[in-house]
């Protein structure tokens, strides 16, 4: 039981760190993108990295975070079965949030990989996903 627990917690943290990096890249992307579109090429523009780098960083972070999240959800189910005897414990809102989160990140990866969206819209979706993470953290504390 213990190793599951440890791996479960570690993978949750790692996925959250990856998603945090993705969101930070998304914020910087949105700032730099808006500076470029509005032709404001001052100090902030000069300091911020290029869009290509930020877009890749966002994509790669999510690519790392997503399998972590998948693993943490699966190990969560097993852990839940060990403790409560059921895979799906309906009083645990965290499980539900995790599944929602998984769907959102799966969707982001899908649109990105199928090259349907890129850049600004992916950055906005990333921020939405991060918003859901924050809500789920608050939700779990209640």
């Amino acid at each position: 039981m213990l190793p599951y627990f440890k791996l479960h917690i570690i993978s949750i943290y790692l996925s959250y760190i990856a998603f945090f990096v993705a969101s930070a890249a998304a914020v910087l992307y949105l700032i730099q993108n808006s500076l470029l579109k509005n032709k404001r090429t001052g100090t902030i523009f000069n300091r911020l990295p290029n869009l290509e780098f930020l877009d890749k960083l966002n994509y790669r972070s999510i690519s790392v975070g997503f399998p972590m999240l998948t693993f943490s959800i699966l190990s969560g189910f097993i852990w839940s079965e060990n403790i409560h005897g059921v895979y799906w414990w309906s009083y645990n809102s965290r499980q539900a949030y995790s599944l929602v989160l998984w769907l959102i990140y799966a969707a982001i990866l899908h649109v990105r990989l199928s090259a349907r969206l890129r850049g600004r819209k992916v950055a906005l979706l990333t921020l939405f996903a991060f918003f859901v993470i924050i809500i789920s953290l608050f939700g779990a504390c209640l």
Binding site: Q32, L36, G42, N46, L51, E52, A115, R118, G119, R120
Partner: protein, 345 residues
Amino acid sequence: MDVVVIGINHKTAPVEIREKFAFLPKHTIEANRMLKENVSLAENLILSTCNRVEIYAVADGNKDYVNNIKTFLGRFHNLNLLDYENRIYIHKDKVAVEHLFGVSAGLNSMVIGEMEILGQVKKAYQDAQESRTTGKVLNRLFEKAFNTAKKIRTETFIGRGAVSVSSAAVRLAEKILGSLKDKTVLIIGTGTVGEQLVLYLKKNGIKSILVTNRTLEKAQDLAGRFTATAVAFEDFRNRLIEVDIIIASTGAPHYIIRNNDIISLMPERKQRPLFIIDLAVPRDVQAEVNKIDNAYLYNIDDLDRIVEENLKLRKSELDDCSKIIAAAADRFMAWLIKEKLKDGI
């Protein structure tokens, strides 16, 4: 032990006069030696670039050295110096030191803060060393000039920001696309600015260049010069999928690229970012294109404005630079006075 600089530059003389005074690179070392012998200077150094010809000298005891240096200049270039009396400036001691520090940092350059001059000053210093016409004063003076130029570059904004249309465009391209090493540019139409920009992109490592023009011969001619690929005008729209940068510079009276062209293009290029530079007047690209996600449109006014802002920023830094230079020159003069006293004893 006086330090003196005698010279002409782009502020005092047009190129027709400057070229008469210029020392060819292959003559500099010899000219340094001749100058030292003829005028019996303690140390001397010739700096000759396209924007300036300057002689830095240290004189010992020789009272009439300024006139002697001028006479040497006149004789070396076969010129009657009386004709150019008002073009030539002479600075001594602290003013001369500040002048060199300013020149090395690019403050005296045509484009304020440009980097090229520092390399030219370094080369002039190496040549003078090779001529064995430098000594402890010029050695220290130039070492301090290089240090001060470096300090100014790191501590002020004098060298920051693009100050030509080409460099502004390349900077934007790198901020949008990242490295240019795997990117392709398409130039539509011909024109000086557009061609300069393509050359600059090439210098910055762009992978491939496509050229198109209404008359295929012109495109082929240009393609030959850039080692690029010529594309027939009727065909260029089919190539937009593979292109990362478009330079539009045709004389067409109407739009060449419209909003709808790019809207339908973006899914085909899998939303890869597209940087469009519209150098044409009247414009070649519909302004609304800039509103499309992952497409970035800059016209000639946008680029000019960036250049102007950066030049303004550089000029606003001049006060800070002068302070750094004055402090460095004071330290050098203090050292020089100590040396004078030492030699006096």
